[in-house]
Symmetry: C2
Subunit: 332 residues, 2 copies
DNA sequence: CTGAAAGCGCTTACAG
DNA sequence: CTGAAAGCGCTTACAG
């Protein structure tokens, strides 16, 4: 910037004003500065700028998801990026891998880079550590799951409602022995979906069979193994509700290998690529992850712009998509 | 930091040294500083630090891919993150949407935030604009496709070799009329895969039928429509080579809707979720996108660490995975 | 080993 | 409208 000022024959202040598009600069001076910028290949240093500027904004936000390569979360990330892009805001992204410690480290690292806000898919069960960041002026919005021990905006899918819908759909089809395959029950979404599963049973006066409820299917083949065990064991279910995209994929794989895909009902939470092509087609309760991301970003930028109203909880409904696997009648 | 110094009763210099883990600070002073840091909830400002520090490093790198929500690119991003994480380096990510202008803007925006390096999936056909960033000390590595008009490291899949393998596999199965469904031919990967398709034909003395070669299938239903047109037209192909994940998915969908999935051979470039469950299973030439990302990151950090050897081109082979769709004999 | 001072690249009252 | 000066939060020679 110093060089630009020298070449243009103006002061640093003037260069700064031109770079920041202050309209009060005389046209000919501005033109000279812009020429110098071009000639020198000057690059504005946003970090240095943020250091001194009144609002302290760095025009960047941090995103913490469970795993950037999970299609669900990468779609959330994409939704955030779309809104951020309109404002010229950049996104930093990191994967917590569902580890509280890693989540904390990422939040801290983002904070240390001066992000204006943080959009977080919670991994830990205490987000008190974010209070400090917020006190330092960092906006915080949670997405997919609410934060804990902190009052902040969040954008959620109606997990219980979606799961209830899925399971009631199976019940309406005549199923009475419906298995539940879930992630760690400590995860908010997993808990909500389990609740929906139970509510659906309760509404129809059907008992939940504890042996059919399987949790903590977190690793690559867990749900595959659980599906096999359930189906090959005694008193197998006539239908399965898989409560998450990766679990659905594993279960479908197991069903196909056992040749039971036309015999056992299946509804999954989250849509899955090729879900319409597999036979039978996959009946799912679909979320809209891009929309989840967009809404979270809108909320975040409202806070960055100074909105200090009470915190909001946005709930987005899930949509039942019938494709065949959920419309199979029980064998008996 | 000033407050920390005051509370600990030491100078700013000492606080800075402790924060940067300089071992030459007396233990009791260091302890006092750390206590003060804890008590005050002090957060280190990495941007301000980078401004003054000798190496000028911000411990962040920028990633530009076509679309962060495409499973292929999100896996690349994940691979980069894994390597970056080991070094405590953060990743900024953005989608170019295959638009040169957008790619340039992202690179500039990342540069303005002082990233130490850039990993780019090229969208434009002239990366001369990066020369300026590089002169300013920003390392550059390309991934998936090479950059143009700039001498830089890149990590590529063997596109021509993989495509050749795929098409020769179909030829070995008896196919002579093999369609090619591709992205914009200006994209390096698409061009390489087309070349492999042509080479496979040439090696076996088979003529390529221009009517079976379809390009620029960039939008959501393009490949679906193209598949229908080819199959419902006169002189349809007996097999299809789809040169990219999204195109494969569209083509499979069209095949299934036409009920031709067991009649028409198919090999796709890129693996696809549920590709083993669909019937017939999808034969693909699989890339390893996570590895692509990892290798690119390793190369980038070597440059950041000062490696100024000649630029490298790393080529990773693609792997044929037989699952059924590529082993279908031609109908005639 | 520690501290006072200069300065990284920038913005912003404050005069003029 | 423009410029000189102070200062954002930090690091780093330089003395001591």
């Amino acid at each position: 910037m110093k060089q630009v000022a020298a070449l243009a024959g103006v002061s640093l202040s003037t260069v700064s004003r031109v770079v920041n598009e202050d309209p009060k600069v005389r046209a000919d001076l501005a033109a000279r500065v812009r020429d110098a910028v071009g000639a020198l290949g000057y690059r504005h240093n946003v970090s240095a700028s943020a250091l001194r500027r009144a609002d302290g904004l760095s025009a960047s936000v941090g995103i913490i998801v469970e795993d950037v390569s999970n299609p669900f979360f990468s779609a959330v990330q994409r939704g955030i990026e779309e809104i951020a892009r309109e404002r010229g805001v950049l996104t930093l992204a990191g994967s917590s891998d569902e580890q509280p410690e890693r989540e904390r480290q990422l939040a801290e690292a983002f904070g240390a880079r001066g992000v204006d806000g943080l959009i977080i898919v919670p991994a830990s069960n205490d987000h008190g550590f974010l209070l400090r960041d917020r006190a330092a002026g960092v906006a915080v919005v949670f997405v997919d799951r609410p934060g804990r021990f902190i009052d902040a905006d969040c954008v959620l899918t109606d997990n219980a409602g979606g799961a209830r819908q899925a399971v009631e759909h199976l019940i309406a089809g005549g199923h009475r022995r419906i298995a539940f395959l879930g992630d760690r029950p400590t995860i908010h979404t997993a808990a909500g979906r389990l609740r929906g599963y139970e509510e659906a049973h309760a509404r129809h006066g059907i008992a939940v069979h504890p042996a059919l409820v399987r949790h903590t299917l977190t690793h690559s083949m867990d749900a595959y193994d659980a599906t096999r065990e359930l189906l090959l064991g005694e008193a197998p279910p006539t239908a399965i509700f898989t409560s998450q995209n990766l679990i659905t994929i594993d279960a479908v794989r197991a069903l196909h290998e056992l040749g039971l895909q036309h015999a056992i009902g299946l509804v999954g939470f989250d849509d899955v690529v090729l879900g319409d092509v597999v036979e039978p087609g996959l009946t799912v309760v679909a979320q809209d992850p891009v929309e989840l991301g967009r809404r979270a970003a809108v909320l975040l930028f409202a806070r960055i712009d100074g909105d200090d109203g009470p915190s909001q909880e946005v709930v987005i409904p899930a949509r039942l998509v019938r494709r065949g696997s959920g419309e199979l009648a029980p064998a008996s």
